[in-house]
Amino acid sequence: MQGKLAIRTAVAAFVAGTLGFVAQPAAAQQWKPTKPITIIVPWAAGGSTDQVTRVTAAELEKELGQKVVVVNQPGASGSIGTKSVLEGSKDGYTWAAGAAKDVGSYAVSGLLNTTANDWDFYLTVANQAVISVNPNTPYKSVADLLAAMKAKPGQVSFATAGVNSSGHYGSEALSRAAGATYKHVSYDGGNPAVIATVSGETEVTSQLGVEQIEMIRGKRLRPLAVLASKPLEVDGVAPIEPITKTLPGFRTEANYFGIFVPKGVPAEVIATLDKIWAEKIKNNAALKKYSAEKGALFGPEYGEAAKKASFPAIQGAAWILQEGGKAKVSPDTLGIPKP
């Protein structure tokens, strides 16, 4: 009885397999998820990673025909959630989200032993840091601000989301480029840092544009410059001038956000995602709208192009850690040369 059943099953499997193979070789690449997919956001709900990931998840749901659940697993600068994806089952149903520069530099800070090579990147947007001040401060331009920073060393206060954050990266880069010092005040996240500047607790914030844009629109913050080489244009706001206008030598790099799939998942998962990114995400209306409204740059990259696009930011983040004395491993040994 059992033997018979086993034979029958084997035959059925064989027939199904051959038929599938013969009938449509391309279909073997099409991945049809049979249970909900989990995207682990290693940051708290409502933050910039969470927002863009939820928009992306909604779009992927339409393409995959399966629920895409976003789970927040915050802690240890995003390394705990990322670790659980890296060490979890590689069946293709668990993905990570976040900033490429974080995944690429965890090994440097020693938080988690992983590099960009352990992942396939599916990028959605690039965020840029904006230098903004409370409207009651006397600073009308970057030149004013830099003059004040030099006149009162260590007194002008900058709000950021902490030493690992994009905002701190921005304030460090600015102060080094200008050869000035400032008072660093860290907050629980991008939004609280921005609010502290709106309320006047701190004078300046250097957080991401996405986190500031509503306040800029509402005239509660005065934007001085975007840390990029091109002006930032957002609906309903006068273009924000690039930092390179005041400091021509300022090195800028795009800080890409997206979804990261660990290496080792079935090939058809990667093939399907590549296809979705190439055909659908590339022209996705929801993500474009999100970028235009929030002051991000739409950046639907995948595969090698994604790695290339995000590398400068990884490089920058890794070396800021190294120079600040926070690196456990030198970026050199991980194949990240000094920019």
Partner: protein, 506 residues
């Protein structure tokens, strides 16, 4: 004023369609269930429903989310009353008097009080949301590092003072909680504190597993260690909320509603602090202080009104500043962004009807609470009649699954077990657990606010006492401490009530 009323009426009319009302009822029910299950919180409920409602039109999706949020905060009181296990951190204060009433055979009445308190709290919060959103949103900006520091200290001190009979032990438990929050990577330099090289500890001790451990698992063991007792249900118990309770304690209801809304507006503190603060104020003002903790209707009413009033309060800064006033409100903010609503300082200019839509959603949520409060209570009271030996293992399974469900980390189950045993031992020595949990909630805020405040002022202590709100909070902390030293208590006597008055009206 009238603009607000007309806007509200329009929004109600806009939603008054059968299928939309069905969504509202469904959302409230899901919230209620999630809130009542230990470990599953309002935050998780709203996040789950965000995923499930992606395809609906934005107004209907947000209606469901708000109903889930309100329902979950209300649902937490069910398990607090029936099982002495707060379903969400917000209901810890409701355990004290709610479960005491249930033990007296008045579970139905207790749930009725919680229902009316929750509805009235929601309405008071709604009132402020509808009429004063632009002004109140600005209040969130008045809270800087110095104020947050005192707020955190205040939370632990009042909770330590209120639970149990021994304030010293309450405060010890509270400070242990504050210390537990310090474990793991701190927020300024990502420096590992007290982790001793364990990577899982760098993420810190998560609140929910700890809560589920000290209340859920410890309660399971606590019940099982004694011989089974039969619960009684008094014949004169009633499941219909009594109008008389509300009329008799109208001052408590209004005071708690105001405190709850206010705490809701302040970012970083949520429903739990709102419930404790309302409870503390109610006890301070009560004519029957001795009943608190032994089944006081007034105490339960205060806690439940306070935590539900916090919900609309927490939404106010979401709308005007895009700053969530509580953790579930943060998910709500993310959901609004997905659905194309752009909260921020311009919302009253760009999208004024949206504010009234939110008020209408809150209103439907309160109707949901009312319906379930009337329909389900009779059924829920029956839970008390089921032998404990049947319920407790299931509760433990839910504790384990609930701790795991939040972040899918096996480590969290371990945390739950350790805190369960710790909770059992500490409770047997008369240390209350609520301050410990509140300490874990507030520890991070205390830590960062103190360090941020000192670095902003370059070590100068005067802003901690010099700014008006900070000074009031400092006075409240000082008075609470002094009231427990017999000599000081006698000297102060009536004077305290006089000094506390401005805060109650705040």
């Amino acid at each position: 004023m009238f603009d607000g009323l007309i806007g509200f009426a329009n929004s109600i009319w806009h939603f008054a369609r059968p299928e939309v009302l069905l969504f509202a009822l469904g959302g409230s029910l899901v919230g209620l269930i999630i809130g009542a299950l230990p470990g599953l919180t309002a935050t998780m409920g709203v996040a789950l429903m965000t995923t499930l409602t992606l395809k609906l039109p934005s107004d209907q999706a947000l209606l469901i989310l708000i109903c889930t949020y309100v329902g979950a905060i209300y649902g937490g009181s069910r398990s607090a009353i029936l099982l002495n296990i707060p379903g969400t951190p917000a209901s810890a204060a409701s355990c004290l008097d709610g479960h005491a009433l249930a033990k007296q055979g008045l579970a139905g009445r207790a749930m009725g009080i919680a229902t009316s308190g929750s509805i009235l709290g929601t309405w008071i919060g709604m009132f402020f949301l509808a009429l004063f959103t632009p002004i109140l949103g600005e209040m969130a900006l008045k809270f800087g590092a110095y104020e947050f520091f005192w707020l955190a200290v205040f939370g632990v001190v009042i909770s330590g003072n209120l639970t149990g009979t021994d304030p010293l032990k309450g405060w010890i438990a509270g400070f242990i909680g504050l210390f537990i929050a310090a474990i793991g990577q701190e927020g300024m330099y990502a420096y590992d504190r007290f982790t001793f090289g364990v990577h899982d500890l760098s993420g810190g001790i998560a609140l929910i597993p700890a809560l589920v451990g000290v209340f859920g698992f410890a309660e399971v063991l606590n019940v099982m260690k004694d011989k089974p007792q039969k619960f009684i249900i008094n014949t004169y118990d009633t499941v219909i909320p009594k109008i008389r309770d509300v009329l008799q304690y109208w001052r408590t209801v209004i005071r708690s509603g105001l405190i709850g809304t206010f705490i809701g507006i302040v970012p970083g503190v949520g429903e739990d602090v709102a419930a404790w603060s309302s409870y503390a104020a109610a006890r301070r003002a009560s004519k029957e202080k001795e009943k608190f903790g032994k089944g006081s209707v007034e105490g339960l009413m205060a806690a439940e009104t306070g935590d539900n009033a916090c919900v609309p309060g927490a939404v106010i800064p979401v709308l005007t500043l895009a700053v969530p006033g509580s953790a579930p409100a943060a998910v709500l903010l993310a959901a609004m962004l997905i659905h194309g609503v752009r909260p921020g300082p311009l919302i009253m200019v760009e999208n004024p009807t949206f504010v009234y839509d939110v008020v209408a959603m809150m209103f439907f949520a309160s109707i949901g609470i009312l319906i379930y409060g009337l329909v389900l209570t009779r059924l829920l009271v029956k839970i008390l009649l089921v032998p404990r030996a049947l319920i407790m293992p299931v509760i433990f399974v839910l504790c384990a699954v609930g701790s795991y469900a939040i972040a899918s980390r096996p480590f969290d189950i371990l945390v739950m077990l350790v805190f369960g045993i710790l909770g059992l031992v500490m409770r047997s020595m008369n240390y209350p657990m609520a301050p410990l949990v509140l300490g874990i909630v507030l520890g991070d805020l205390l830590d960062k606010s103190l360090r941020r405040g000192l670095s902003l002022s370059d070590g100068d202590l005067t802003p901690f006492f010099g700014r008006p709100i900070a000074f009031v909070l400092f006075l409240l902390v000082l008075l609470t401490l002094l009231m427990n030293i017999p000599v000081a208590r006698r000297v102060m006597g009536q004077g305290t009530a006089l000094l506390l008055r401005p805060f109650r009206r705040a």
